[in-house]
């Protein structure tokens, strides 16, 4: 079985994101970029399935500028077998990304597609579900445990009420949550080895995809800040203050 893993290049999660002067975007010049952390978990899960002998090829795929090759190289260094970059200089929104991945799925015929449940830049949490809809296959979102049983898989999903367990027939789309696994650290020799692994580049225009309706985004603003309140010295003072406010 082949597994496709989708990887997005995002601003590193440790970076304090800054809005640009025009207020029409965030500053990315000179900012550290990384693999979306949820996508790293997706790569790790695919690798573990291959390591158990249940998959024979892991293909990492991404959409973006040529700079996204860096993130695909990270996936290759983690252990993916080969990579595909669909190159575009335009902003790719979730529905457009899902259409691209659907094209790749038709070409590659994987048994499973893993993605992070959301990217930490736009926080949309949409692409996996949209891909599953276009492909007309099952989706298991926010997975915290994954167990392959031949042609089906049992997935535990993190839902607001607790843990939901579903069975899905393969092929299927799985989006992963934080608790699924801990991604491995990449070692220097793996980085060297990754440089020799195949990374194919396809221009987005070559795929013949209809551009879907797109959202227009403007007015980038910082969130409203809460003002610091007062420090109290004792429990009695705290209780009095809360009673005064009418919240006790």
């Amino acid at each position: 079985m082949k597994i496709l893993v989708c990887v997005k290049r995002v601003i590193d999660y440790n970076v304090r994101v800054q809005i640009n002067r025009q207020g029409d975007g965030v500053i990315t010049d000179g900012v550290k970029m990384s693999v979306n952390p949820f996508d790293e978990i997706a790569v790790e899960e695919a690798l573990q399935i291959r390591d158990r002998g249940d998959a024979d090829e892991i293909v990492a795929v991404s959409i973006g500028t040529s700079a996204s090759q860096q993130q695909l190289r990270t996936a290759l260094a983690m252990g993916a077998d080969r990579a595909i970059l669909v190159e575009s200089d335009d902003e790719i929104q979730p529905l457009a990304a899902a259409r691209v991945f659907h094209k790749l799925v038709e070409k590659e015929q994987p048994g499973l597609v893993f993605l992070g449940k959301q990217a930490i830049d736009d926080d949309s949490n949409q692409t996996g579900q949209m891909l599953a809809a276009l492909w007309q296959r099952p989706q298991a979102t926010s997975a915290s445990s994954f167990e392959l049983n031949g042609e089906t898989a049992r997935v535990t999903r993190e839902v607001d009420a607790g843990l939901e367990i579903i069975d899905i027939d393969l092929p299927a789309v799985v989006t992963v949550d934080l608790r699924l696994n801990e991604p491995r650290f990449v070692k220097m020799p793996d980085i060297m080895k990754a440089k020799r692994k195949p990374l194919e580049t396809i221009a987005l225009s070559e795929l013949g995809i209809d551009a879907p309706p797109a959202l227009e985004t403007k007015n980038y603003e910082p969130p409203p800040q809460r003002q610091a309140g007062i420090m109290v010295e004792t429990v009695d003072e705290l209780i009095a203050a809360l009673r005064d406010r009418g919240v006790l």
């Binding site: 930490i120 989706q139 607790g162 069975d167 027939d169 959202l215």
Partner: protein, 311 residues
């Protein structure tokens, strides 16, 4: 004409509070019908009909709708959507799962986590873990699909009396996805997402056993209990108690953070709370920068003392 279809969230017996909160958002956009997908359980449709602002309730009852499987619900919702300009769902794990699947079937983009309605087709939403707010507009040539950030809206009143219509959208339902079980945390305490008061513990609480003092204070206040991601990662409490960007986003009237430093990812989950109280031994903890009332000291003496004096 603007017509909104709101997808109700429920647990098979009762509507989730997220439905009433999403109703408030939907009402700001236009005339709203509420769709209830269930297997029987007419009481769900009856309670949806009481939501203030609901014009009609569409009740799609069939055995396949017993559990909220996105792959089963999405084709039915997409079918109903033909009569509407907008389709909304709460931005809970339910809405996040099902609505993008609907949007893709409709060939429409989705606006996730609507915080405010700027116009019929324009909304504010958070990105970068709530560190940036943007305004997004949906083009005119497609259905508006959106999930509602429920912490941003008050629950609609329940004094309405909408007409209930049985519907059976004609859609092929897949059998490739099967519901097995829900392992819910059984608790006598209020639900975290709808509680008026919440007491939360962080890494400073130190152990699963020590969390008892958090439970003690919460019970005295009839509050729900939450935790920071650090406390969850340390194994003190299960993940469904996690508050923050990677957990639940809440807006209680009173929030008491105990032994929580106030990492940005936690703050994102609580900044819509009415009153925030922070108890922490580190006077420099970032949580004090946004708390309405801060108390520096040893939580192991403060929290039991507070519980006792609330008497």
């Amino acid at each position: 004409m603007t017509r909104v279809l709101l997808i109700a969230e429920h647990d098979g017996a009762e509507l989730n509070l997220s439905t009433a909160k999403s109703m408030s958002c939907a009402s700001q956009i236009g005339e709203t019908d509420v769709a209830v997908f269930s297997n029987g359980a007419d009481s769900l449709a009856t309670s949806a009909a009481t939501l203030a602002g609901a014009a009609r309730v569409l009740h799609a009852s069939r055995p396949e709708n017993a559990k909220p499987l996105a792959a089963v619900l999405a084709p039915q919702i997409a079918k109903l959507a033909a009569d509407y300009t907008h389709v909304l769902a709460p931005s809970t794990t339910f809405g996040k799962d099902v609505l993008p699947r609907v949007a893709a079937l409709l060939g429409a983009p989705q606006v996730s986590d609507i915080m405010s309605v700027e116009s019929e087709r324009s909304y504010k939403r958070p990105i970068y873990a709530g560190n940036v707010i943007v305004q997004v507009s949906v083009p005119d040539n497609c259905t508006v699909c959106g999930t509602v950030r429920i912490a941003s809206f008050k629950a609609a009143a329940t004094d309405g009396n909408a007409e209930i219509t049985a519907v059976s959208p004609d859609a092929d339902l897949p059998a490739h996805t099967r519901y097995i079980d829900l392992q819910a945390q059984v608790s006598e305490r209020p639900d975290l997402q709808s509680a008026m008061r919440v007491v939360s513990g962080g890494r400073g609480v130190g152990s699963a056993e020590n969390f008892e003092i958090i439970y003690g204070l919460a019970d005295k206040l009839s509050a729900a209990v939450g935790a920071s991601r650090a406390a969850v990662d340390a194994g003190y409490v299960p993940n469904d108690m996690q508050i923050g960007q990677t957990g639940k986003i809440i807006a209680p009237d009173l929030y008491i953070a105990v032994g929580i430093s106030g990492a940005i990812q936690h703050v994102t989950g609580i900044k819509d709370a009415g009153t925030i109280v922070a108890i922490n031994k580190d006077a420099e903890a970032p949580i004090f920068a946004l708390a309405d009332f801060g108390l520096v000291g040893d939580l192991f003496s403060i929290v039991p003392d507070l519980e006792k004096k609330l008497g």
